[in-house]
Symmetry: C2
Subunit: 219 residues, 2 copies
């Protein structure tokens, strides 16, 4: 498995870099998904489930972490193309870093490229990575008050995955209240309560991803 | 309840500001604890339990968040002194911000001042806030691989609280493996597996906090 170390590019040029990457991805017909969440919300587990379920879609994954290669190893074990990115201590990925990572996994046989961003509910929301679609995960154990505390992440995301719903009996978490709080920040956000462990709710997210890919290629 | 909005101070002077604040806290005999974790790990729940259990210790709490006042409201409801700090989008607290927040809750009747830092496993570890003691929380649902991915936080902390152990049956989490990974980064780190919900394991943390307060006042 390939591991690359990247440092942040100059911030002033980030928006330009992001637009350039988005244009490139559109020409190649690849939907780039920026997947964000706090540490331990289940990004890699969700991705593993999607890759296993959606055999008609070819995934490539960029795993961003400060250290370790555990996530990219999990994805490669599923037979998907993956690269581990080490961010040199950086708390987010920017567009230049994403473009460098994409070059490591790019190919004619990719439909959806997923950037699994650094586990952080704050900084990744502030940087356009060039993605065509932004999805965030909030896990049930984190609590339904998180839209109140980390509003930008919820405002910026196209989809909110509420993960680990199999643990709803164990934790105080009101799915409807959480969804309403997210929609107050972002009326268009799509909400997907699911469990990647049991499979509950996965189909709705998978249908939405397929529709996003179709839409991306038709525009 | 008081809410203050703070912006970051100049980074170059942060270490100097931190030493100044630490000296002030020592002269006042107040132990400042920098409490850090990812979003939703249970910082406020742990603090609420500590305040309820340790009636012989007088707490003052600085709640740092990007937005909302829910945490400070919870602490005030317990009768403890609290201030809500809004960080203006900032992903961490620095020493200058902490000193400003401390002025809002300072008093002769404080033994332990707790800075509940912004929910983030990355950036807060990089900034000395002037605290005399650093504690982090990792919750069971986040997974035992987090020391591999966020090493600086574990390396910098005096204590690792492994929270939500009442949910150990629900999640794959190996307490011993996690503690060993943390000790590889930080041989001196004290590990406290506990549940603030059931009270299991709280006594060991409370004894340690009392000993830290005594040690701080004797030095």
């Amino acid at each position: 498995m390939k591991v690359i170390s990247l440092n942040a590019t100059v911030t002033a040029s980030n928006d330009r870099d992001a637009e350039a990457l988005r244009g490139e991805m559109r020409r190649e017909g690849v939907l780039l998904v920026n997947l964000m969440s706090a540490p331990g919300a289940g990004k890699t587990t969700l991705l593993s489930r999607l890759i296993g379920d959606m055999r008609d879609v070819r995934f490539a994954v960029m795993e961003a972490d400060i250290e370790s290669t555990v996530d990219a190893e999990r994805i490669e074990a599923l037979g998907a193309r993956a690269v581990q990115v080490h961010t040199g201590g950086m708390c987010h990925m920017d567009a230049g870093m994403t473009a460098r990572a994409w070059r490591e996994v790019a190919g004619k046989d990719v439909d959806i490229a997923v950037l699994e961003n650094v586990g952080n509910l704050i900084c990744p929301a502030e940087y356009d990575t060039g993605a065509g679609c932004k999805a965030m995960i909030l896990s049930v154990p984190e609590g339904d008050d998180k839209p109140l505390k980390y509003p930008l992440m919820f405002a910026e995301s196209d989809a909110l995955v509420i993960s680990k719903v199999d643990a709803l009996g164990w934790f105080d978490f009101d799915v409807e209240k959480c969804a309403a709080r997210a929609r107050r920040l972002n009326p268009d956000i799509r909400v997907f309560p699911l469990s990647a462990k049991t499979g509950e709710g996965m189909a709705a997210l998978e249908d939405w991803l397929r529709a996003r890919l179709d839409g991306w290629r038709k525009r």
